[in-house]
Symmetry: C2
Subunit: 136 residues, 2 copies
DNA sequence: CAGCATCCCCGCAGATACTG
DNA sequence: CAGTATCTGCGGGGATGCTG
């Protein structure tokens, strides 16, 4: 994994290094923060299941405030990850779904979430070892 | 992607839904937050390249304070993702590297970062469309 | 029902100073 | 060099109230 090759090359390390170097708000980082944000993760994973109405999302996720859910959805919509379909009926009905782009992101985020779940036992073992070592 | 199947089944949706439902601090979420945290992401990606000393990491990442870097490294070490090798010399020398577990996490995080980079053009197009639609 | 506006608090992150 | 300890601010995020 060298740093010399340019982006477009099969070596992923180059782009990753470039990504790190430009840490002072390269746009990538911003999108990544949206995608990996506290509520962004949960929204994406939930929408991977099926489209949801606003209140459905709220219930499904659980402890999210209206404000943060709205904010998260707007950010993800603006980034082109989530599609908002507001139907002109009374009472209002708004459906949220993943765009193709959002679907790609959501799958990766879900995979990461599933990974943490699979590896949780290892993590807890490591924590115990760490804490025991400290206590001594 | 149903919610009925149990974990262990090939269907990933079940575990993902379970993950979302238990949003009030299931341990997975906590690990995921460590891994996807502002500096956690950058540390993992950087260490994927090669082991780094503390000050090397600091320079490589750029605008990170000592405090946050220390904090991030301690959290990742406690979770068993990063290995800390403190050599008993003067002046002190501490090398940080990825554990096997950390390597798995780092690769996924890097892939996500690379994805955001590849898809950046789409995101910016979406943003422009969104902003234009709003302005009207 | 979906979402905006406002107020407010506490906790994370930065800055600074000091130590082994 | 690789950290700790302490102070401070400011903004993320919750709670509440109101609108189309």
């Amino acid at each position: 994994m060298t740093v010399s090759t340019l982006e477009g090359a099969p070596d992923a390390g180059a782009a990753a290094a470039k990504y790190v170097v430009g840490a002072e708000m390269c746009p990538y980082r911003l999108v990544l923060e949206h995608v990996t944000s506290r509520w962004g993760v949960l929204v994406l994973i939930q929408l991977l299941d099926r489209p949801h109405r606003f209140s459905e999302l709220r219930r499904a996720i659980g402890r999210v405030s209206e404000k943060m859910l709205t904010q998260t959805l707007q950010t993800l919509e603006r980034d082109g990850l989530v599609h908002r379909d507001a139907k002109p009926v009374i009472p209002p009905r708004v459906d949220y779904s993943l765009t193709d782009l959002g679907h790609e992101a959501a799958r990766q985020v879900r995979d990461l979430a599933l990974w943490t779940e699979r590896r949780m036992a290892d993590v807890e073992r490591a924590r115990k070892a760490y804490d025991d070592a400290k206590r001594s």
